[in-house]
């Protein structure tokens, strides 16, 4: 089918509604946030309209630099873990019968219905000393006494991977279902064992999908602010936690806004860099 460029004003009509929604719910709040990030904090009230770079200036410190670095590192790690787990899982899932696939996808979708709070508290129970999984290990004779697995970095990572995994599977699923199964068979007839063929045919053939999925999970993980608080120590708090803290508890909207803008810019830069690197590699 040939696509024709819209000619009259009426051809643009379908864009009116989404455009309006985007303006009302994204452009306006985001612009407001950018504006607020230059305002002056008013300790007595909310903020006063001004133009100051203090909010950004305050951000440039070792402490916030370290939090930003940690947030990015955590998000990258979550994205890599999710794709590393979800890719083989989804691949094997697409090899199952339709019935089995449906059951798994329904289970995964039901995980999506859990809120971040519920996931956080469920894992905090599972990682606790009194009621956690270590009790099971003791009962099995693997451990001597139950221990608390939280607060810890591992607990934060586990919780966030758990939360993002269903999204990862759902994003990978369509691409893997469409993958020609004879690619793998062809590799096998050419002397490649099934595992090897998976890594040097299936994965590279879907490289763009993998990169897109990593970026999606990365952005998703960057916004997580409850799980690090529930499952981690203060040094495991991400920038999103600090933004929430500044905005809600310290009532410092301008500073929170400045941090949020900064976070958006950094993530955009990273995503852009990844895509740029991918394009360059493709051209070779």
């Amino acid at each position: 089918m040939r696509r024709e460029a819209p000619k009259s004003l009426a051809d643009y009509a379908p864009l009116v509604f989404p455009g309006l929604m985007l303006i009302v719910f994204f452009v306006v709040p985001f612009s407001t946030m950018i504006a607020v990030s230059f305002f002056q904090r008013d300790p007595a009230g909310f903020y006063t309209v001004a133009f100051t770079l203090d909010n950004y200036g305050r951000f440039i410190s070792l402490f916030f630099g370290r939090v930003l670095g940690f947030s990015l590192m955590l998000s990258v790690l979550v994205a890599i873990c999710c794709v590393a787990i979800a890719f083989p899982f989804t691949y094997l899932l697409t090899k199952q019968s339709r019935k089995v696939q449906t059951v798994w996808l329904v289970v995964l979708l039901s995980v999506l219905s859990l809120s971040e709070v519920i996931i956080g508290f469920a894992w905090s129970t599972l990682f606790s000393r009194t009621a956690g999984i270590t009790n099971l290990f003791v009962w099995l004779g693997l451990m001597n006494e139950p221990v608390a697995l939280l607060p810890s970095f591992g607990a934060v990572l586990t919780g966030m991977v758990y939360q993002a995994l269903p999204y990862t599977v759902l994003v990978l699923y369509p691409a893997l279902v469409r993958l020609d199964p004879t690619l793998l068979e062809a590799a096998r007839t050419l002397g490649s064992s099934p595992v090897r063929a998976f890594f040097n045919v299936v994965v590279p053939a879907l490289r763009n999908t993998v990169v897109a999925t990593v970026i999606m999970v990365f952005v998703f993980a960057l916004g997580s602010y409850l799980l690090p608080q529930i499952l981690g120590r203060p040094q495991h708090w991400t920038l999103s936690v600090l933004i929430t803290d500044q905005a809600i508890y310290q009532s410092n909207m301008p500073f929170a806004a400045a941090m949020a803008v900064f976070l958006v810019l950094i993530s955009l830069a990273l995503v852009g860099l990844t895509l740029f690197a991918g394009r360059k590699e493709n051209a070779l």
């Binding site: 020609d180 096998r188 050419l190 002397g191 064992s193 590279p204």
Partner: protein
């Protein structure tokens, strides 16, 4: 024995027998076409030979070595898939040398072999192109070159021409046959196109319902089909029920065919006669009389459809022996006894 032997192989999917206790032996260097309608088990048989499906029972032996349990990647068979299955992330050259890369062959050696193979399939200098930029026929050749990279013991092709247009398909068939003869490699092609089989094969294996209906040279299959199924599937044919009258003569549509031996046994039988063997004569001068229902003049050949009171007989003639029959004319149809093959229906 040198070559491939399939011994009593059965493949069952649930209750469905895709391949049913099949025996076949293929001498070394033979070009075999597995021919049959869809669902006859030909692709399943090929996939079992390749090791992509495991037989439910039976064994597959090559050059005296039982390979039934050997995994695909240790068999060293080249295979071309219906979808071609070229690796989209690799260049033409890297696709062709994939098997060498897996074996850890040095880079220059890979390159040299890829160039050599690409020359073999008439694509010299294509090594650095991306696969996505190739035409259908070029992709086909790359798939063939890739499958031949390790000089495989057996060359398997699953409906390799199905994605090509008719003209290209014909020339690729000739090319594939010439390539096979040059390399002397045992080749098995799955196809549902009888012209393709006739063009390329030394041995045509006609399959139906998981069994071999007939395995013979193309011309024998065409001239002496084993049964009505084979006769009907290979080329076009006229199948007419045959009966024996009280005098012991072979009767078709109530007319005796002089010189044709009647079928023995009580089983129902038919004669198969190729359209090019049927002659049109003046009314009353042929074996049967009938009415012309349609004349298809294709230029090179003329097909005349004659209704003989039930079945329609098709006669194919060349313009040189043109019969001036129009739809509605009464004509005689000559069925020469020597061209009639009695087959079980």
């Amino acid at each position: 024995m040198s070559g491939l032997a399939i011994n009593d192989v059965t493949k069952q999917f649930g209750d469905f027998k895709a391949v049913d206790s099949l025996d076949l032996s293929v001498p070394h260097g033979t070009f075999v076409c597995l021919l049959g309608p869809s669902g006859c088990g030909k692709t399943t048989l090929l996939r079992m030979i390749a090791g992509l499906e495991e037989p439910t029972s039976g064994s597959i032996v090559i050059d005296g070595q039982d390979i039934t349990g050997v995994p695909t990647h240790q068999r060293n068979f080249g295979m071309v898939f219906q979808s071609l299955a070229l690796f989209p992330h690799l260049s033409v050259g890297d696709n062709v040398s994939y098997a060498l890369r897996i074996r850890g062959t040095p880079r220059e050696e890979q390159r040299r072999r890829a160039d050599e193979l690409l020359k073999l399939v008439h694509l010299p200098g294509f090594a650095d192109r991306p696969v996505a930029k190739l035409s259908g026929g070029q992709r086909q050749r790359v798939a063939i070159a890739r499958a031949l990279a390790l000089s495989p013991r057996l060359f398997l092709l699953d409906e390799p021409m199905s994605a090509l247009d008719a003209k290209l398909r014909e020339s690729m068939q000739v090319e594939l046959r010439q390539l096979q003869q040059r390399l002397g490699i045992t080749t098995i092609v799955v196809t549902h196109d009888q012209r393709e089989a006739m063009t390329m094969a030394d041995l045509v294996v006609v399959m139906g319902q998981g069994r071999i209906r007939q395995a013979a040279s193309p011309i024998e299959i065409y001239r002496k089909p084993a049964d009505a199924f084979v006769a009907d599937f290979i080329g076009s044919t006229n199948l007419l029920e045959i009966a024996t009258d009280s005098a012991g003569r072979a009767m078709v549509q109530g007319a005796a065919i002089p010189g044709l031996a009647p079928p023995n046994g009580a089983a129902k039988a038919s004669i198969s006669i190729r359209p090019e063997d049927v002659r049109i004569a003046a009314a009353g001068a042929g074996t049967l009389d009938g009415t012309v229902t349609f004349v298809r003049d294709l230029g090179a050949t003329i097909e005349t459809y004659v209704d003989v009171g039930g079945p329609t007989i098709v006669a194919v003639t060349t313009p040189r022996e043109r019969v001036d029959a129009k739809a509605g004319d009464r004509v005689g149809v000559v069925l020469p006894a020597e061209s009639c093959v009695v087959v079980k229906s």
